[in-house]
Amino acid sequence: MDMRSRTLRKLVIAGLESGGKGHVGSSMSLIEILRALYDDFLTYDPQNPSWPERDRLILSKGHGCLALFALLVDKGFINRSALDTVCQKEAMLGGHPEKFKIPGIEASTGALGHGLSIGVGMAQAAKIKEKNYRVVVITGDGELNEGSIWEAAMHAAKHRLSNLSVFVDYNKIQCFGPTYEVLDLEPLADKWKSFGFEVIEVDGHDVEALRDVMGNIPVNINKPTVVICHTVKGKGISFAENTAEWHHRHHFEKEDIARMYASLDE
C-alpha cells in the first residue's frame, strides 16, 4: 500500500477516533475506489461544489462515508478540522452523508438501496438537458439485496444511460457475515449483464487497474456500466480485514485507535 492510500486511511481513523464509533471495514474497503475516482475520473470544483458541469458521485452505501469524507478533505471540499468532530453535537459530519450539510455530497444516503435510483434520475436529467456530466453511484454488496437497486438497474438499461456507472464495493462481508451466507449475490456479473449493463471486474485496491478501467468508461455508448470492485473489508487494518466484527464498531478504546494507526504502518 502506497503512502497516499495510507494517508487517506489515516483520515478515516481520525474520523473514527473523534466519532468514537463508526464503520471501519466498510470505509477501508472503499479507499482506492474513491481515490481513483477523485484523482483520475471525476470532474469537479471544490470551490464551487454545485458547479453545473461537475460529475455527480453518490455514495449509496452511505455508511462508508468516512472514506468519502477523507477524499472531500483531501480535495479541499471540507476542512481537515471537520474530521475532529465527527458525530459530535452540532457537527457537520455524522454517521452518514447529508446533502445540505456537506459540500460535495449529492444526495443524503444511509438507508440502503436508494442511491442508484437517484443517480439514474441525475443521469436521465443530463440526457434531457444534453449535458455532458457523468454520474457515478457506489453501492455496497450487501446493499444489492435491496430490490429497489434492480428496479433502478432496469430503468438505466432501458434508457441506455451510458453516462451512468455503478461501482460495487464487493468486499463480500455484510453486517452478519459473508455475503454468500447471508444472501448469495453470485453470479453477480451475470446478474448485471442480464440487466443490460456492461460489466467490468477489477481488483478494487489496485489503483492502476482502477484507473485503466475508468479510462474505458463508457464501454458501450448504449449501456450503463457496472464496475464490480473486488475488495477486502477493512483493507489496510490487518486485524479488521475480512471480518464482520469490524463492519461497524460502537466503541473504540484508545488502544484500538493506536492499533489501527500502527497497522497501517506495518
Binding site: F100, I118, G121, M122, A125, E151, H155
Partner: protein
C-alpha cells in the same frame, strides 16, 4: 379528478419545461398527447414505485419538477422510506399525485384503499399534504405547486365530481378556505368530503340551521390563524375526512387547539374512517355510507350537537 389532474400536468408541461411526467405502468392510453409531444419529459416506468421516487429525486436535484403519478396506496405505503429520505430529507420539489384517495377503489379491496395516507405523510418534516375538493381547486393548487419548491403529496379524489369552488377566488397552499362563515357550529372538512360537508350545510340552512364550513385543502403546512379565530367563536366543531382518525384532519384540529391552549374549548366531534381495514366492496359511496361519512351523517351529527 384523475383525468383532470393528468390533463393539467400536460398543460403545465407545455408551458414549463421543468415539468416531467413519471407514471408507474398506468392504464393503457394514458397521456398519449403528452408522450407524443414531449417524449423526453415523459416516463412511463414499470411497476417500480420505490425506484420512481428516487428517480424523481434525481431529476429534481437537477432542476426538474417531476409529477409522479400512481395509486395512492402504492405511492405512500410502498415508498414511505423513499419519500422520507429521497424527497423530504433533501427537500426536493417532487409532486406526488396519489390517485384513488380514500375509498375510491372500494371494489378492489383494502390493498387499494388509501385510508391512512394523510396520517403517515403528515408526520414527515418538509412534506406538504394536499387534498383538494374538486377539479378546479386541484388544477389551481397544481399550478401553485410548481413554485412551492418542496415535496408535495396530492390526495386525488374520485372522477366525475362537480366543481364547487369558484374560479375567481384565489387559493394558496397552506391556507384553509372559509366556505361558509359559522355562528355556533363549524364543520372543518378536507378533500372530496368537503362536497358532502357543503351539501349538508346547504340542506341544514333550508331547515333553519346555520353551520359554517372551513375547507382544508392543505393539511400540512396548515395556516392555523383562521381556525383559531373561528374556534374562539364557535361552540362546536365537527371534522370530516376520508382517512382514519389517527393523524388525520380531526387530529390536526385537536393538536392545534390543544397546543394553542384554546379555552374554553369548543365541543369537537371527529368524523373519520374507523380504525380497521374496510371490510366491504361495492363502491366508494357504499363504504362512505357504511362508515357514516355521508351528507346525511353530517346532518345527523349537527342535529345531535344541537341537543347538547
Amino acid at each position: 379528478m384523475r383525468k383532470t389532474s393528468s390533463q393539467h400536468i400536460y398543460e403545465l408541461a407545455k408551458l414549463d419545461d421543468r415539468v416531467v411526467f413519471i407514471g408507474s405502468d398506468l392504464g393503457a392510453g394514458a397521456m398519449t398527447d403528452y408522450k407524443k409531444e414531449m417524449p423526453n419529459r415523459f416516463f412511463m416506468d414499470g411497476i417500480s414505485e420505490q425506484h420512481i421516487i428516487g428517480f424523481a429525486a434525481g431529476l429534481a436535484s437537477e432542476g426538474f419538477i417531476p409529477f409522479v403519478n400512481t395509486i395512492c396506496t402504492f405511492l405512500t405505503r410502498r415508498c414511505y422510506e423513499q419519500i422520507v429520505v429521497n424527497l423530504c430529507l433533501d427537500n426536493l420539489p417532487v409532486i406526488l399525485m396519489g390517485n384513488g384517495g380514500g375509498l375510491v377503489y372500494a371494489p378492489l379491496g383494502p390493498t387499494h384503499m388509501a385510508i391512512e395516507d394523510t396520517s403517515i405523510l403528515r408526520a414527515i418534516p418538509n412534506m406538504t399534504v394536499i387534498a383538494p375538493c374538486d377539479p378546479l381547486e386541484t388544477k389551481k393548487l397544481m399550478t401553485k405547486a410548481l413554485e412551492w419548491g418542496k415535496p408535495i403529496y396530492f390526495k386525488i379524489g374520485p372522477s366525475g365530481i362537480p366543481t364547487i369552488t369558484s374560479e375567481t377566488i384565489p387559493v394558496s397552499i397552506s391556507q384553509p378556505v372559509i366556505m361558509k362563515e359559522p355562528d355556533e357550529i363549524l364543520i372543518v372538512s378536507t378533500g372530496y368530503l368537503t362536497q358532502s360537508a357543503l351539501k349538508a350545510a346547504q340542506t341544514l340552512e333550508k331547515i333553519g340551521i346555520h353551520v359554517g364550513l372551513l375547507h382544508v385543502h392543505t393539511l400540512k403546512p396548515f395556516n392555523k390563524k383562521i381556525l383559531l379565530e373561528l374556534a374562539r367563536k364557535v361552540k362546536a366543531i365537527l371534522t370530516l375526512e376520508e382517512n382514519v382518525g389517527a393523524g388525520g384532519l380531526g387530529s390536526l384540529v385537536l393538536e392545534i387547539l390543544s397546543d394553542e391552549n384554546i379555552y374554553p374549548l369548543p365541543r369537537i366531534k371527529r368524523m373519520s374512517l374507523p380504525d380497521q381495514f374496510p371490510d366491504g366492496y361495492g363502491d366508494q359511496e357504499y363504504l362512505l355510507q357504511k362508515y357514516n361519512l355521508t351528507v346525511e351523517s353530517v346532518i345527523q351529527e349537527v342535529k345531535k350537537i344541537l341537543t347538547y
